[in-house]
């Protein structure tokens, strides 16, 4: 039996062969991932006239001109980026702080509704924002929050997925004896949370802050329904407007420059932080 296996059809390929195949496939896949961004970069550096002549693989010298045109164009792109930054940063801060607090409540205390609450949060974890969007829009209309940033920021306080990650992390990184010791030293519960628990949770908070930031930064569905004033719009809404504008009349160099402007900052930040991000996904996965 075992002899048969060793001499089987695909077994002629030893470790070297398999390694070669996997490198080739990996390089091919990496190419498929990066190719689009390469073309984007090249085209963002070329003028409209050059772009109409067809694709060339070498960059040209119009990047600055194109970006200047984007900034002075009809779409308030810089304003859009600042709006996106503000909303995403506030969401990340609120989401991580309060999700840690929620996780701490479930992790460190024993109370009657504890089991119910932790089950409830898990149960509602997968409900997408889209199915409640209708009631959400009506509600913020009644609250006078239509066309404001608040309904895009405050709801991130209740983030079941972030809570779940924080709770998993606490189980391995936050011993209850530490909290007990803080109590004996006379630290109040709220102070213990801010001064002892939060610093210990820093790695988890960093990972989740990045994820919350990115998902808020990329969010299109809700902001497009909430924001109406041009100066309040976020980048994804402006991208959608660019798409619906009459395409052929546009300066293509400008179109590419604007897409590059919304994509490349995230790529740069990602490359700087990739170690934490990729690791963070895996940590969540082992537990999930």
């Amino acid at each position: 039996m075992s002899n048969d296996v060793v001499k089987g059809p695909d077994k002629g390929m030893g470790v070297h062969g398999r390694r070669a195949v996997s490198y080739i496939v990996l390089i091919l896949i990496s190419f498929l991932c990066l190719f689009w961004f390469y073309v984007l970069f090249i085209n963002a550096t070329r003028s409209h006239a050059e772009l109409t002549k067809g694709f060339t693989p070498v960059p040209s010298s119009f990047l600055i001109t194109n970006l200047k045109n984007v900034f002075t164009g009809t779409l308030p792109v810089v304003r859009g980026m600042l709006n996106s930054l503000l909303i995403a940063a506030c969401s990340a801060v609120l989401c991580t702080y309060f999700s840690t607090m929620t996780a701490y409540a479930i992790h460190a205390y024993d109370f009657k509704l504890k089991k119910f609450m932790s089950t409830f949060i898990l149960a509602v974890m997968m409900i997408p924002a889209q199915v409640t969007a209708l009631g959400f829009l009506q509600l913020i209309g009644k609250m006078g929050l239509d066309d404001s940033f608040i309904p895009l920021i405050v709801p991130s306080i209740a983030a079941p997925v972030t809570y779940f990650y924080m709770k998993q992390y606490m189980e391995s990184a936050l011993p209850l004896s530490l909290i007990e010791a803080a109590r004996i030293d006379g630290s109040g519960e709220f102070r213990t949370f801010n001064n002892i628990v939060l610093p210990l949770m820093k790695p988890a908070i960093a990972v989740q802050a990045i994820f919350t930031f990115v998902s808020s930064w990329n969010n299109y569905f809700t902001p497009a329904l909430v924001l109406h004033t041009d100066t309040k719009k976020t980048l994804p809404i402006l991208i959608a407007q660019l798409r619906s504008a009459d395409f052929l009349k546009f300066d293509m160099g400008q179109v590419y420059a604007m897409i590059a402007f919304s994509i490349f900052p995230v790529i740069v930040v990602y490359l700087l932080l990739s170690k934490y991000i990729v690791g963070g996904v895996a940590v969540g996965a082992v537990k999930g």
Partner: protein, 303 residues
Amino acid sequence: MNNSKGKVVRYNKWGYIFLIPFIVVYVVFQLIPLVSTIYNSFFENYRSGLTQVGPNFVGLANYAALFSGGKIWIYLKNTMIMWIMGFIPQIVISLLLGAWFSDPSLRLKGQRFFKTVIYLPNLIMASAFAMLFFTLFADTGPINSILMNLGILSSPFKFMSNVWSVRSLVAFMNLLMWFGNTTILLMAGMMGIDTSLFEAAQVDGATSTQIFWRITLPLLRPILLYVMITSLIGGLQMFDVPQILTNGTGQPAETSMTLIMFLNKHLFSKNFGMGGALSVFLFIVTGILSLIVFRINSVGNKD
């Protein structure tokens, strides 16, 4: 903890206090909207030109109109087709890459680099990514230009006017954006498998192909199921990519129109009755799927 009950009880009110922000925000921004969405689905409430119709209670009429109109089934079919077209290659590639990354005998170099690259598209703004593909695959865009220079095409291919090329583009973008995430999830699952099982199999003379099919795959079944259902829930929410790619039209002839694009239309035109009925339908479907995920997770937590 139990031996110091008296002291602990005094502290335990803080459990409730720390839960207040979550509960208040959840109730206000999710639970009340959910209830009012369901409530709205029983009312006729829309604008026709300048006149506002309703809200009048109509019972289940919105649901009847939604399901008898037939459009919802077309959009559900579109959504599912594009999800499957993206998901099958995604799971195959992710399993393959996960197996390679976690196989100690291969000792692949540059794993950090490859993992970084394959996860990259996941963080890209979906709307900007779709806009990028729209310009790249435009009739006069660079892809047509490259294909013509290589002699593969003699005249530009109209990617945006063909049913299957638009669906393929959407599926391909979803594939690119999600396979890195799936790879990392599956890899974490593979690393969690007891290595003595692999060693025992190797001693018995099993090849890596056999190990993959007979040991890795069966043991991965819970994680695979989890990945599949969460991807299906994500697939039902498919919106940004087809919306931006087709400018909300689902062209050609609404063959790439998804359920959420349909919902978005109702929300923009303020047809709250129909929008409500559609939301409830989506809520029930995702609810059933979530329940399955919840079951998988709670089984996983027990061991």
